[in-house]
Symmetry: C2
Subunit: 409 residues, 2 copies
Amino acid sequence: MPVNLTAPVASSLHPVAGVRIGVAEAGVRKANRKDLTVFLLDEGASVGGVFTSNRFCAAPVQICRERLDAGAAVRAIVVNTGNANAGTGEDGLARARQTCEALAAQLGLQPDQVLPFSTGVIMEPLPVDRIVAGLPAAITDAQPAHWARAAEGIMTTDTVPKAASAKAMVGGVEVTITGISKGAGMIRPNMATMLGFLATDAKVDQAVMKQLAFELAEGSFNRVTIDGDTSTNDSFIVIATNKAANAPVTALDSADGQALKEALMGVARQLAQAIVRDGEGATKFITVQVEGGKTAAECRQVAYAIAHSPLVKTAFFASDPNLGRILAAVGYAGIDDLDQTRIDLYLDDVHVAVNGGRNPSYREEDGQRVMKQAEITVRVNLGRGSASDTVWTCDLSHDYVSINADYRS
Amino acid sequence: MPVNLTAPVASSLHPVAGVRIGVAEAGVRKANRKDLTVFLLDEGASVGGVFTSNRFCAAPVQICRERLDAGAAVRAIVVNTGNANAGTGEDGLARARQTCEALAAQLGLQPDQVLPFSTGVIMEPLPVDRIVAGLPAAITDAQPAHWARAAEGIMTTDTVPKAASAKAMVGGVEVTITGISKGAGMIRPNMATMLGFLATDAKVDQAVMKQLAFELAEGSFNRVTIDGDTSTNDSFIVIATNKAANAPVTALDSADGQALKEALMGVARQLAQAIVRDGEGATKFITVQVEGGKTAAECRQVAYAIAHSPLVKTAFFASDPNLGRILAAVGYAGIDDLDQTRIDLYLDDVHVAVNGGRNPSYREEDGQRVMKQAEITVRVNLGRGSASDTVWTCDLSHDYVSINADYRS
């Protein structure tokens, strides 16, 4: 059961001027399943992306990177589920290109104006014929109001579609932001990938889009972890359709740039956190906040050590305030000159460890009370500086093992 | 159920001249349990040790490091289970010292000739009175033939005692090697630590002992992983009693040094692998062998990425030849210039992936056959050099979650 996460209400997702979305059933892997989604962008959109750091990256990721780096004027995005087109070599690249060519031909575009995304089983050939055959239906279906449909269309083994939407003021003008994401742990049996698509009608210079996507990912999708596995297909795309009346954002550190980024970040975080809330077997949503570090990077390092520790994660599952496991994870996070006698640890408002030892006033029942909650904040103070960082994760339950140990069906 | 691991037969463990071992029931945490073990060494033993890299290291670890670094003439080792004396600050150091002082007084030694070891619950005060009260019985019990008893005496939640023994020729003289270990995953509920004690009667110069312990750990205890968690108390001690008639080993790269190291390594590996075989919830013993790297370090990095991946580990539990998960782990291991088109993957003798893609001649039933075995070798060739390294691990099962999610009892 996802942790405090329900399907989005379609009417709560604001359409973004300049974006139409269509979904179809192409039978990529299974019949009668929405498995093909297209985003059609009006001319003039600015687009940025961030992709998996996995060296074994999928064919569509390679093509997206190449096209965005070359400054392609993106007009369409095509997403299939059921097949990740990863570990498929040259043939996989050719098939991803074929998909783009087919969509481009039907829309009167150049192939490099189409970005492809795939998610599903690894190391099997992409059934490009079935995908191409499904494109006309997806194009016909395209509507600005279809965000909730798209959130469903990109699901693989997610149990809940994930979408979020907001309005914000940028330079005195109201802009709209809507996005969707998918992912539920890194991989259910053979099903990979976290995908995120975020669009705004704000005017944003193409020149800042790559950096914008990077900074947004750093504060959202790059701060969530289920099991520490990094998929071959992870992608996050940010679109600014330039339809709103704001003065174009040309620098992220301008007042307008900051206002826009903050608003986008709010939605990106909801989308990223939704993935954790729907994490494989998750029963708890955990915020790991590390402060008092010399650098944000070392805080992150400690936060990930805690968030990845199977022992910490099983303790959360068991609602066991097992302080030793958290402190041990802090200790092995890799900060060579860490002084254990300066570490403080809190579970929500409960101060459990002080100067690296048990807080004399800590009572087990207080820790127990917090550990029983569905949402918990672990706060660690390293006592060596003023930097901080935060990571979101979930617990490790029996269901995680069941889900991932099921034989591929 | 441990994987191909049974309790040692006491008579198969050769006594090591110059070492007597005694075990007692001190009631550290629970009554009627062998929880206190002493090793008594004749005068003139050479001793080296390697300890946890966890910055949150336990009080006894700090004291052992200090004494070995100061060149103490070690004559006794005291090990308690039931309490790790970790996260206990200055008070914990004082209690560990008290234990050593009490044992030293009873044996007519200086306190710094005693090395203390503790394993068990974290962040609770060491019950030093009960330990001290148990020492006379442990001393009275001391016999050269008590290795199997000691293997039991240092167990916490291990399901099987772990010991190994061998004879070898060093410089034309037969020497004896016997050792014990404990650990079963990093931590069962609150129970931490891997401990290893290895003794030989060979003559070895004290000057090479630290390096010897380091090199042995690098080839054994530092190459096993259950869940990637590093305990606060991990310790590995090597003792050479200097009772044998061999010419003293004064350099590890001499012929005698190499012969001795190889023999010690064989026993150390058995002890380290026994910990994986008895890993929490383990149903499979996995050897991850990475070759074709530029350096051994990068091979190790890839091997650990595979060995720590919850997705890979659950696939082993399910006997699912899920190649994508292994290749994905290779891809995110952190080698920035890795070329995915050069990766080959084998499961035992089955060549599953070639040049980063599925081997055309690979049949799922062959992978399936290997995955069903209790012992499996995963071999990855990175195709970029001639270095290699190996790591041993186990699968991730329902029982791992059950064991670690049980509330501390």
